[in-house]
Amino acid sequence: MVNISVDNQKIEVEENALLIKVLQDNDVEISHFCYHEALGVDGNCRMCMVEIEGAKRPQIACNTLCKEGLKVHTKSPNILKVKQEILELELINHPVDCPVCDQAGECSLQNYYMDFGLYGSRHSVEKTKKAKHVDLGSNVMLDQERCVLCARCTRFTQNISKSNELFIIGRGDQARVSSAPNKPLNNPYAMNVIDLCPVGALTSKDFRFQQRVWFLDSVESICHGCSKGCNITIDHNTTKFDNDRIHRYRPRRNMAINSYFMCDEGRLSFHKENKKSRHFPFNASTLRTLMCTDESKKVMLANASLSVENLSILKLFCDKYSIELFSLPIVDETFGDDWLRNSVRSANASALEFLEISSSYEAFLKAAQTSKLLININHPLLFENIESHAKIMHFTTHDFEDMGDMRNIVSFASYSHENGTLINSDNIIQKFSKSLHNIHSENTLHHIFTQIDNTLYKTQETLWSGYISKQLGLGFSDIQKMGTKLKGVNNA
């Protein structure tokens, strides 16, 4: 450890720690375009200049290592002037079209200009024109005029996705980001470059022109697209004459799971959450008669993306009424890769073992054949091929194709409408929060089953303290913000 001083404040840091990271970790504001924790140092934008005592000229914080006695000033008049000059250069050929730019409100260039910019422009020469709407592929639109050439996007395709589609071509005032002719941006993680871009040069075809970012409400959640459980921020809002609606998913930093990224398929999976489904109300006493009274054999198949809380309440319910409970994770071998995407597409598949829910396909088929009643909790298998003679009772979050006798359908709230926890493929348990409020005022699964049998744990809190914590070996409050790794079932 060494001692450094930043704006006359003493900080103790690891020797050779990267100065810009130290500043960020200590909440010292440091402007920057090109440095990114996941992409490393590039040193091309010069926005991170700081004054270092003893050094003749300002230095870039992103390429300075901390040594004993380092004295740094981030806000001296000289530094502010340097930043102003860099920003002035940045704007020579910038179109300044912030009023129609989707990045406005979350644009580094705009923010820094507000902080340090030179308000009266001194430019008189004509601006260089470049391409304003280049469709790079994979839902990514490029506006070359807004680009600050920080090379974050190109470094992403070179070093992280390793697909090498984007490079900077040309030079001088003609330098611009581009893909090669006939070789569009095409990889399953392509849309991450939109988040990486510090300005409005890269925007999402899916999101652009939809909403102003300052009108969005953000909630921390977990992607339900596969068992990796990438951390996300759900941006949603309610506008006039419309329901609460999700406008985008953004990856949220979690170094143990997804670092800064997520896959495109997961990113776009919110469209399903926005889909309006018909509302099928439930009648507790009818359901009670159907599921709880007679002695005939009953089988329940639960979707393995249901939260730990929902699976638990089903488990308790089934145990009590001798219903055989199964949950079959959905596996898609073509989906997985060696980075984030996992072939197990059910977000909570790892929870089944902890909750002692059978996931045997054979056993389920066998049980289903002799069963009188099949209770389907949102599992696609039973929406499609129904070869059983048993009566099927559907609990569903979305309309499905062949709805048949609609008296046997109950709708319930999907994951964005409630709080819950998931256990990912690495046995990390994480919380997600309710984001949507009033799309179809659905009942949660928990509510439905506690209405059917009101001796079950009424709230998520009591369910946790009474049942789940015993199964998992930890309490709800033990779950860290970035998730907590569970000990496996076998070595618990």
């Binding site: 090498n164 071509i169 040309g170 006939n182 070789k183």
Partner: protein, 151 residues
């Protein structure tokens, strides 16, 4: 069928010599770009793909390097190529007029482009006609060039 690019025997020899010369294979991108352009008169997609495969670098790397230099061209040029230097010495000595002269007088068989310093600043203003340097250009020399190209 897709055209496959192959180096000529002489260029193949040069390549194997270069491989020994440079420990970092990426350094051979530039000489190879020249070889491809010399053979085809421009850089085709197949040609650049050949370089990428040969040196095991991404295609986009080759393309981005080539795009940095004004002297590499990506489309089949016209019959003749006049490269007018526009960098400082030439610019001060009237590169603009040279360019304007050719633009005005040359017919459709001739491609006139501006390039950066060709390393002949002592003979500014200058240009290269199909690769041959023409220096200290004045009215007479310009006319002679046109005659040579039969415009």
């Amino acid at each position: 069928m897709r055209k496959i690019f192959e180096l000529s025997p002489q260029n193949l020899e040069k390549l194997s010599a270069l491989r020994k010369q440079y420990p970092e294979q990426k350094a051979i991108v530039l000489p190879l770009l020249w070889m491809v352009q010399n053979q085809l008169s421009y850089l085709s997609e197949e040609g650049m793909q050949f370089i990428a495969t040969e040196l095991d670098v991404p295609y986009m790397h080759v393309y981005s390097v080539a795009s940095f230099y004004t002297m590499f061209i990506f489309e089949q040029p016209k019959k003749h190529l006049i490269e007018v230097c526009r960098t400082l010495s030439c610019a001060l000595n009237g590169a603009d007029d040279v360019k304007a002269y050719f633009d005005d007088k040359c017919d459709d068989d001739v491609e006139v482009i501006e390039v950066e310093c060709l390393g002949a600043c002592g003979g500014a203003p200058m240009c290269a006609v199909d690769g041959k340097y023409k220096e200290s250009l004045d009215d007479a020399k310009l006319e002679a060039i046109l005659k040579e190209l039969k415009c």
